[in-house]
């Protein structure tokens, strides 16, 4: 134990002296570690507050865990009197509310009973479903059913667990970014100090020695930045969450988390560079004291594109040091790209919040009345109802062994399609592509209006006026796949027989190929009346008339399940009031079941979690890393090159020419950073877009269509930042060099320039 304390004391003392005697050299690490700690601090404090906000919302909205709707009198009494419980000690719920509703059609009363579980929620729910539900069913009237809805109060713990998983994922992501940053900075540092490490290795330093020295130095820095980081991250989070009106929560455990995170980042960041360093031959490091490790072979450098020697000295230098320049540009500008990705995420989050989702689901299957124009008029007459969507008449092509054929000229991406090689459709020598990733949807005049929300080309109503006219989407799985024009033809294959059945284990394109080969199809020629460009698509939607739908799918269109959309600006209280009105409306038509998807509530919770603001602050913090990399790296680089400039001056170069070298270098870096920042930002944003648009729907099952765009205001910020840093990270070392030369030429000592660091 004594030895451990001795080791710690010695290591910390050496590290402390090393860091503070060379504070200038380590300043960049102070800033970097502070930013990392603040980033993670914000993440962890905001995660606690998000859970707090969610809990506040849920407890405000619900004081019950479960509601049973449309019970008859006996069922309601069974619950109110808790007839299923024998012993008092066995009570698992209390009834917090009991509503009586009059069904206007049958003139009978139905009951809604709201339950709050009194013990462990999972156990209570399980027992309730196992013990009480069968009894309730036994008390049920013939042909009548009741519905069970659970609330977020019951599933709150599951949500918290899901949040924790998400938090771990984000922590890992942030860990990767933080390690990348610190490792990049540390690599810049050791690249400039290879000579010193070469000497250390010559005289016995091993990995353990190099690693522990580096680790303790960064540890000392992280200790110094720790409290300010906790303070700053808490303050930012407070400013963001204070606006919610739900108070601000600070969990002391956050302090521990931030400390551990910082420790993990430091450990990982210095491990790899030091491991790489320790296995090198010392001589290879000692001979790199003049930066030659960054210089490509002069023989090749001189012959740039066949030119003997570039007339511009600095252009030649840019080429000589191309490895360094590329490393610096990509490392520094990656953080600009991350900034843009952060803003893009904020935008995606806002799009997600505003995305139209059905608020109420109406089930008319137990009602003697089908959905008709009168019902439609009544529903649209309720204040707040924006759209009514019939969801019955939707059939996946692959489920009925149907597919579409498209001329190859109408195809943009072949990924989800197969080449048609069947014999039944007359291809006349042209290539046709087939897809069974299609969703046939029957439409009437009312439903067509819903499509007006989307970005479309053509005449939507042509579907009703023309013969076999369809409205189509242009994508599969949110990936633009078709390049249709209005008036183009597509052919819908309807199965009418088969040579033999196909392997039931086949899926996707293999299944479609076999179906085309072994099934018989009638092909219905359809004309494209309109194309919708931004509709979410798992399978590509094909809208058609009720008649055509019946012909293609063999199913009679029905209208028993409705999705009701409400006005976007409605708050949760108004939505709840509207919910009561819709239920009241349903009672005119018998057993109409209306469920509330609680979209408005979820949107309010999500809005109060302030992810958009968080993403923006995080993006800005990440952006601030970029200048750090620029100035730290360029400062060290040009300090090394001052010997070169001294030699140039000793053989006749005047200060103006030296300035030109610096300025040309700065302009080159600025110009290159312009292109690199646009390129990396585009790639980064597209990757995010692809993940959200294509990859995530594959796992979550929910399709939201995000529009790919370059956030120009962010890109402009990033470009300005990169160009500014590219130039000034070169120009400022020049100012420093000029000052040194001035001092030297006017009788001063000239400082330490030209010496090894």
């Amino acid at each position: 134990m004594e030895k451990v304390f001795e080791y710690l004391k010695r290591s910390l003392t050496i590290a402390w002296k090393s860091v503070f005697f060379n504070f200038g050299q380590y300043l960049c690490f102070f800033i970097a570690i502070l930013i990392i700690q603040v980033l993670y601090g914000m993440m962890t404090v905001s995660a606690d507050n998000n859970n707090h906000v969610e809990y506040q919302h849920v407890t405000e909205e619900f004081n019950y865990h479960m509601v049973l709707k449309d019970l008859n009198q006996y069922q309601a009494l069974y619950l109110v009197n808790d007839e299923g419980t024998v012993f008092k000690s066995d009570v698992i719920f209390e009834v917090v509310r009991h509503d009586e509703n009059l069904n206007y059609l049958t003139e009978t009363k139905t009951h809604d009973v709201y339950l709050r579980f009194t013990r462990d929620l999972d156990v209570c729910e399980k027992r309730f479903r196992e013990d009480y539900i069968p009894d309730l069913k036994a008390y049920g009237s013939e042909g009548k059913s009741f519905s069970i809805e659970t609330t977020s109060l019951l599933t709150f713990q599951d949500n918290i667990n899901a949040n924790r998983v998400a938090f771990v994922f984000i922590t890992l992501l942030l860990l990767a970014v933080a390690i990348f940053l610190l490792m990049a900075l540390y690599n810049i540092r050791i690249n400039q100090y290879k000579f010193t490490y070469g000497v250390y290795l010559t005289f016995g330093a091993d990995f353990k020695m190099l690693f522990s020295t580096a680790f303790w130095e960064l540890f000392v820095i992280s200790v110094v930045t720790f409290l300010p980081a906790v303070g700053i991250s808490t303050l930012i989070s407070f400013l963001i969450y204070h606006a919610s009106g739900y108070g601000f929560l600070f969990n002391p455990l956050s302090i521990l988390k931030i400390a551990l995170f910082g420790l993990a980042v430091i450990l990982c960041s210095v491990w790899t560079p030091m491991k790489v360093m320790s296995v090198k031959d010392p001589m290879s490091l000692i001979v790199t004291e003049d930066n030659s490790n960054l210089v490509s072979s002069p023989m090749r450098s001189i012959n740039v594109f066949g030119e003997a020697f570039p007339t511009k000295y600095e252009l030649f230098s840019m080429w000589r040091f191309r490895k360094y320049n590329i490393q610096l540009l990509t490392t520094a500008i990656v953080f600009c790209a991350l900034f843009i990705m952060g803003l893009y995420m904020a935008d995606i989050y806002t799009t997600d919040l505003e995305y139209p989702r059905p608020q109420f689901i109406v089930d008319l299957s137990d009602s003697p009345y089908p959905y008709d124009d009168i019902m439609s008029e009544e529903l649209y007459g309720l204040e707040g109802i924006r759209a009514v969507e019939i969801t019955d008449n939707v059939t996946e092509g692959r489920h009925i062994a149907s597919h579409i054929l498209v001329h190859h000229k109408g195809v943009k991406a072949f990924k989800n399609l197969v080449t048609y090689e069947g014999t039944e459709f007359d291809t006349a020598g042209d290539g046709y592509r087939a897809s069974n990733d299609v969703l046939y949807t029957a439409m009437n005049a009312e439903q067509i209006q819903i499509l007006e929300d989307y970005d479309y080309e053509g005449d939507l109503t042509s579907l009703l006026t023309g013969e076999n006219v369809v409205i189509v989407g242009e994508s599969i799985s949110n990936v633009p796949t078709f390049k249709y024009k209005v008036g183009d033809k597509i052919w819908i294959g309807v199965k009418n027989g088969q040579i033999r059945s196909v392997d039931s284990n086949l899926t996707g394109r293999a299944l479609l190929k076999d179906q085309i080969q072994y099934f018989h199809f009638d092909y219905i020629e359809c004309t494209i009346g309109a194309i919708i460009y931004d509709i979410p698509s798992g399978s590509t939607p094909i809208y058609m008339t009720m008649d055509l739908y019946e012909e293609v799918t063999g199913k009679k269109p029905s209208s028993t399940t409705l999705n009701l959309y409400v006005e976007r600006e409605m708050d949760n209280d108004s939505v709840n009031a509207l919910y009561d009105e819709v239920r009241d409306w349903g009672r005119q038509y018998g057993d109409v079941k209306v469920s509330n998807a609680r979209v408005a509530l979820q949107n309010e919770i999500d809005a109060d979690k302030h992810y958009t603001e968080l993403f923006i602050v995080i993006a800005l913090l990440v952006l601030s890393i970029s200048p750090l990399v620029w100035f730290y790296s360029q400062n060290l680089y040009y300090r090394k090159r001052e010997k070169e400039f001294n030699i140039l001056q000793s053989i006749g170069a005047i200060m103006k020419e030296i300035r030109q070298i610096y300025v040309q270098g700065g302009l080159c870096m600025a110009a290159m950073s312009l292109f690199v920042s646009i390129g990396l930002s585009y790639i980064g944003s597209y990757i995010l877009f692809y993940i959200y648009n294509v990859v995530m729907p594959y796992f979550s099952g929910e399709n939201v269509r995000y529009v790919f765009y370059m956030p120009w205001y962010a890109i402009l910020t990033s470009i300005v930042m990169s160009v500014f840093c590219g130039f000034f990270s070169t120009y400022l070392p020049y100012r420093s060099y000029a000052k040194y030369r001035y001092s030297l030429e006017n009788g001063g000592a000239g400082g330490e320039f030209g010496d090894e660091e």
Partner: protein, 240 residues
């Protein structure tokens, strides 16, 4: 079989420069006894420094073996080799290679820090080295504040502070004028007499090489024995 302090077996080192392969060291073999002083002479670019670096484990060989006191350093892992080098070998470079931001004393003590030596263990050696190498005047000066001869003396002290069994010197007088060169050589021989380590020195200066027990010549990467002073000097360690 007698255990040699240094033994190399067919060491080969090649560099590839574009399409040409240059053999810097071509099957070089040597056996050096403990306490021996061996000089390697040759023209610039003959491969003598490269061979010395390989012998000291500072550079890797493409083929062949290097044994120090019977231990094959070419088979050692990087960390193992580093530690072995720190404990058993010293190295003096032509360009001193002092760390510019450290003082003379700190530079001397680098090997003790790298090998985690306690202060007690090297105090006596430090005192002897400082006295022998006449470094008492400017121990707290930076290398840039020292003359070339003083810098090289600091470099010698750094190489010897861990009391290595074998000292490699790569043209230690190459950057010095005649007087300083003679002084550094005298000091090297004096410390060798005091501490008794084996000395392998690369030089192109024949007058310095004349002080060695044996002189090898490196010519286009091929090592050959030039002269062997068998007899009383080798036996008595009388180098003066």
């Amino acid at each position: 079989m007698a255990e040699y302090m240094l033994q190399t077996e067919s060491v080969i080192k090649q560099y590839k420069q574009y399409d040409t392969v240059i053999t810097a060291v071509n099957r070089a073999s040597i056996k050096v006894e403990p306490g021996e002083f061996v000089a390697i002479i040759g023209t610039s670019g003959s491969g003598k420094s490269t061979f010395l670096h390989i012998c000291a484990g500072l550079d890797s060989a493409d083929a062949g073996r290097v044994l120090i006191r019977g231990e094959d350093i070419t088979a050692m892992k990087p960390d193992e080799l580093s530690r072995f080098r720190g404990m058993n070998m010293g190295f003096v470079f032509q360009r001193h290679n002092l760390i510019p931001q450290f003082t003379a004393l700190e530079n001397i003590l680098i090997p003790t820090m790298m090998c985690n030596k306690s202060e007690m263990s090297y105090q006596e050696t430090l005192r002897r080295l400082v006295d022998t190498l006449q470094l008492t005047e400017r121990p707290h000066h930076l290398p840039s504040e020292l003359s070339g001869g003083q810098q090289q003396r600091v470099a010698i002290a750094r190489a010897l502070i861990n009391m290595p069994d074998i000292l490699f010197a790569d043209e230690p007088t190459g950057n010095l004028d005649r007087n300083n060169a003679d002084e550094v050589l005298k000091l090297l021989l004096e410390t060798k007499k005091v501490m008794g380590q084996t000395l392998i020195m690369v030089t192109h200066d024949l007058s310095i090489a004349e002080h060695a027990d044996r002189i090898f010549r490196m010519d286009n990467g091929i090592l050959s024995l030039e002269r062997d002073y068998q007899g009383p000097r080798r036996k008595t360690n009388d180098y003066q």
